[in-house]
């Protein structure tokens, strides 16, 4: 019997996604280490990577990087398939969908900060809906909505500014 070698073709795109997802996972872990006054209020630092990827490499790559980050971070943090994982997945799917629409906004007027804030609101909106439908089936949950919305505005702006700065300081190289 001959030993069979399975060789996976790795494209440049695969490598790029892996690199970026790794960076996003590192930020997601840092995120989890930051103490939070209220479960669900987190800076969402990994979304900086999503924004940069979206604006530099397109929506498809951003989806790959984000979804990989959600799964890998959940495995590393030990909440894979736990409620927190589904909240995180829902938030990410909602914000990716929003980014998919918002990226068509005229770039001259709407920069990374707009995308970031819109995505942050979609993120928390999706999470609140899932939590209301599944985890806490009571409208009392929405009493926390202003706090979540405030956090989305604050951290969405912050992450957007960081992403904008990163993009501005690293202009696209002609060859890349």
């Amino acid at each position: 019997m001959t030993a069979s070698v399975i060789e996976l073709k790795v494209t440049e795109e695969d490598r790029r996604v892996a690199w970026l997802a790794a960076a996003a996972v590192a930020l997601a872990l840092a995120d989890a280490a930051i103490p939070s006054p209220l479960p669900g209020v987190k800076p969402g630092l990994a979304n900086i990577v999503t924004l940069v990827v979206l604006l530099r490499f397109g929506w498809g790559t951003a989806v790959w990087v984000s979804i990989l980050r959600v799964f890998a971070a959940a495995l590393l943090l030990g909440h894979f398939l736990a409620p927190g994982f589904f909240l995180s997945l829902t938030g990410t799917v909602c914000s990716l969908a929003t980014l998919g629409l918002a990226r068509h906004l005229p770039a001259r007027w709407f920069g990374p900060v707009s995308l970031s804030v819109l995505a942050a609101f979609a993120h928390i909106g999706g999470q609140l809906l899932l939590a209301r439908l599944w985890l806490v089936p009571h409208d009392g949950l929405f009493a926390l909505a202003p706090l979540f919305a405030g956090a989305a505005l604050f951290f969405g702006t912050l992450n957007g500014l960081i992403a904008a700065k990163l993009l501005a300081e690293n202009p696209v190289k002609a060859a890349a």
Binding site: R108, F110, A145, L161
Partner: protein, 124 residues
Amino acid sequence: MPWHSLLRPGDWLVLAAGAAAVILSLPLLGQGGYAEKAVIRQDGQLFAEVDLRAPRRVEVPGPLGTTLVAVEPGRARVVADPGPRQYCVRQGWLARPGEIAICAPNRVSVQIAGRTRAYDSLSY
């Protein structure tokens, strides 16, 4: 590079919309509104509507005896009841609109009411 130079005109628009969303959602924080009065019922009939701004005690007569209701600014409770199991007394202070304590044996109930009716009733 100054931070504000990273913002484009539309970004300010989105930020304003976001701030508006936060402000509009603020009333949700005090969900259910403020507790304004305690509605005391005897045998299903309205016995008294007590304003929750000033402390007061209300004695409600029933088939077993007198149920004593205490009112303080923003809250109310059943202090004493002739019923055998004392559920309504042990429920303690009621402060949110919709909260209710029912002294079934003596046919007395105390419910908090606010301007808006967020719930039909609340009990724990």
